[in-house]
């Protein structure tokens, strides 16, 4: 009877695609990803080729924490991949991650790019930069985030929604450096300088500079690379050609940085394989693929930036703790509401 019941359950589980069943072997990893599978596919393929461990990916941007939480010990997820510090921190605070102790990870990833308790690990970093019009913005005219609030840029700035995760993190870093009041005043100033209501994604801001809608776009650095090398949509090369990538605050604290990162869940059934995957992603070969394919900054010291990224010159990144930024995110989000940032200029 017992066996019959078990067999029935196994059959049901197979029919309905349950993945927790019958995968005794540690030869695979279930990965929840904020990153679209096609973007990380070359990396995962390389991992499978080297280790023989298969990676199953589910792409989702919302509900991941709640899903892992609700499933408890039965959660099929072994590891999580995100593109912003906010989600990593929320997962940690939600109590669904487990600490990982790995010499490889500690060696490969500098301390400010990983959680002090080993709950999450940054794998690449990205800079929130200004893409300024080559024609209409002189070199040296814009040098810091603080400048963005200067009235001389009135009607000249384009940016996506203040509620976008990358902007929320940037505003959180402004709170960390200037306090809430200072950051509010700054955000008011930036809002007053907007050329149009916040909209579109980062790439769309560069396009707007190309079209003459505005002179300054706020964007993550790698979009510049993606536009410059886009052979399938050559019009994007024109957008990129119209702008100059400008790192900010080079004279003081450095450009604001965010990370994409990974973590192992508390309920991981394939913990060893999951750790192996993260170690692989932090090591030379994968870091190089990240650098070359996605134009991001490798976190591992010594791995060269891509040629393209190098062509934008040396820069200094802000080493403000990402944990601090994550903690200030709710405050930053409230600030966006308070100043009515997304209502656009003149509201």
């Amino acid at each position: 009877m017992k066996r019959l019941f078990a067999a029935g359950l196994a059959a049901a589980a197979t029919v309905f695609g349950a993945t927790t069943w019958a995968q005794a072997a540690d030869q695979e990893v279930n990965l929840y990803s904020y990153r679209q599978p096609f973007l990380i596919k070359p990396l995962l393929d390389a991992f499978t080729k080297e280790t023989g461990i298969k990676v199953n990916v589910v792409f989702a941007k919302k509900g991941m924490l709640e899903k892992i939480k609700a499933a408890g010990d039965n959660s099929p997820a072994d590891a999580v991949l995100t593109v912003d510090i906010g989600r990593l921190y929320a997962l940690k605070e939600g109590g669904v991650l487990q600490a990982v102790k790995s010499d490889t990870l500690e060696k490969n990833i500098p301390a400010h790019f990983r959680d002090p308790e080993g709950m999450w690990f940054g794998l690449t970093s990205r800079a929130r930069v200004a893409l300024v019009s080559k024609e209409r913005v002189k070199p040296g005219e814009l040098t810091s985030y603080e400048d963005l609030a200067d009235p001389k840029f009135k009607g000249r700035i384009c940016v996506r929604s203040g509620k976008n995760a990358y902007n929320v993190a940037l505003i959180a870093s402004m709170i960390a450096h200037h306090g809430e009041e200072g950051a509010e005043k700054w955000l008011q100033g930036v809002k007053a300088n907007l050329a149009r209501k916040p909209q579109g994604n980062d790439r769309a801001q560069a396009k707007a500079v190309f079209e003459g809608v505005c002179d300054i776009a706020i964007s993550n650095n790698y979009y510049m690379g993606k536009m410059m090398t886009n052979d399938e949509k050559p019009e994007q090369k024109k957008w990129a050609a119209a702008v100059r990538l400008t790192y900010l605050n080079q004279g003081d604290r450095g450009n604001h940085m965010n990370v994409s990162g990974a973590a192992v869940t508390k309920s991981a059934k394939h913990k060893d394989a999951a750790v192996k995957l993260i170690e692989f992603l932090s090591d030379d070969a994968a870091q190089k693929i990240y650098a070359e394919d996605n134009q991001e900054y490798p976190v591992k010291p010594g791995v060269p930036y891509s040629k393209l990224v190098q062509s934008w010159g040396e820069f200094k990144g802000d080493t403000l703790s990402l944990e601090k930024i994550a903690k200030l995110r709710p405050a930053a989000s409230r600030l966006v509401d308070k100043v009515g940032f997304d209502d656009g200029p003149g509201s």
Partner: protein, 567 residues
Amino acid sequence: MPHPAVADRPTARYLPARLIPDRWGVLTLSVALFVATPLIAVATIALTPAPEIWRHLYNTVLFGYVERTVMLIGGIGLGTFVIGTGTAWLVTMCRFPGRGLFNWALVLPLAVPTYILAFVFTDQLEYAGAVQGTLREVFGWRDRQDYWFPEIRSMGGAVTVMTLVLYPYVYLLARAAFLEQSVCVLEVSRTLGKTAWQSFWNVALPLARPAIVVGMTLAMMEALNDFGTVDFFGVKTFTAGIYDVWLNMDNISGAAQLASVLMIFVVVLVVMERMARRGQRYHHTSSKIQALPSYRLSGIKAALAAVFCAFPILLGFVLPASVLLSYAVVFFDVTLKANYLTITLNSISLSLGAAVIAVAIGLVLAYGLRMGSGPLPRAAVRFASIGYAVPGAVLAIGVIVPMAGLDNAIDAFSERTFGVSTGLLFSGTVIAILYGYLARFLALSFGTVEAGLGKVSRNMDGAARTLGASPFQTMSRVHFPLLRTSLLTAGLLVFVDCMKELPITIILRPFGYDTLATFVFQYASDELFEESALGALTIVAAGLIPVVILALTTLRSRPGHAGGGHP
């Protein structure tokens, strides 16, 4: 013989009789509660206090959210009413060039996901798009200071895009209602000296009102739950606020509270509408059916009618389909590489399954309300149908929490008793998606079936029962043939909507399981929209087939239309 359910009920003495459901009532109540469980879960999550969120929202953005939400659904309600009812009336009652084509083609935009239309519209109408580019070239304007052009990423843009995709709900239901109306009442009206316009306004429209209202309610509820389009257009609605509180302020209970307020809002709307037509019944008073009269339009009137019908089809279907087609030709290899066949099969089988289940349950509930009433089951069914207005991602959380709880309980039990772990039997499988679809789309199936059932006169039930038929016999031999069109409509509406559904599918799908919608979104969320064009086109095409069947069937269904030919 006393009604058994009444006779066996000892509690009858202690509770007011009207509150005690009979057998049908108990069935209705249980089924409704089953479907409403995700909503109840959301309300439960909302019980954790989050006062600081409310103070913040109240002081900053709350009124803006509410104002924009009201504007959005108001605009969409009006827009879908005008286009849906207007075109339905024209193709049903008038003859003008192109009518045979419009008759079914007017349903086509239903197959286009809102997020896709939003993308195509911005692509064409923004500053760099084809339209403004051509204008600049033709008139020699240099930059945007030289001329004025409406901003597509705005409230107006959101209303336009959603109206174009959602008006077919009103069109389908209104047309079915017009087709089923007895011509006699219209003839009487004309005989009494009313003009065609007055007959439409004073006679046909009030008779079709329940169906039209259901259509408008569906469209407005769909708009309430939308996030993708309003986000894309930078319109901060109530739903945008829910996501913001959840994901940016990391406050799920605050988000659930907002979602609960949204539910209350919808309940109030539905109740208000019900009260407005309380006591009115809309049955056929004459069984005399004859071929529809067709007012022959000519000259300028015929041209205007054709333009009025062609416009929504061109903008809501031809434009997006051709843009998608042109992209699909260039980027088809991306989709083909991604296991195209499997994800298409997944989409179709999942949507088909959901449609069958939703119609079956919608039927049970609509019958439950007709047979055994009682305020409790009635309220439960109304509550279960508001899942349609709840933001999909929030609803998905409402599915996960109770389902994973059940799974874990079963797992623990099986582990204890048999020493076997069952894992996540429901929440880790496609059953979760089906449940999510049911919770979300019950309003479609229930609303449509109920509207259809409402047109079946109670006198028929009475006659059938007098002749000795049981309720079930009445159902299978009298109602079912009369309901066939409504059932089909309900099933196809659910099918098409499931094909397009995104947030629930994305959150609830198991590892290695993709649908066309999730595939398209993976690219579109990175604004690599062109790469996913073939996938998007397949959603539209798969939605087309049932949509055309539906359009043809409702036409044939009318008694007096021999073989579906045009009169």
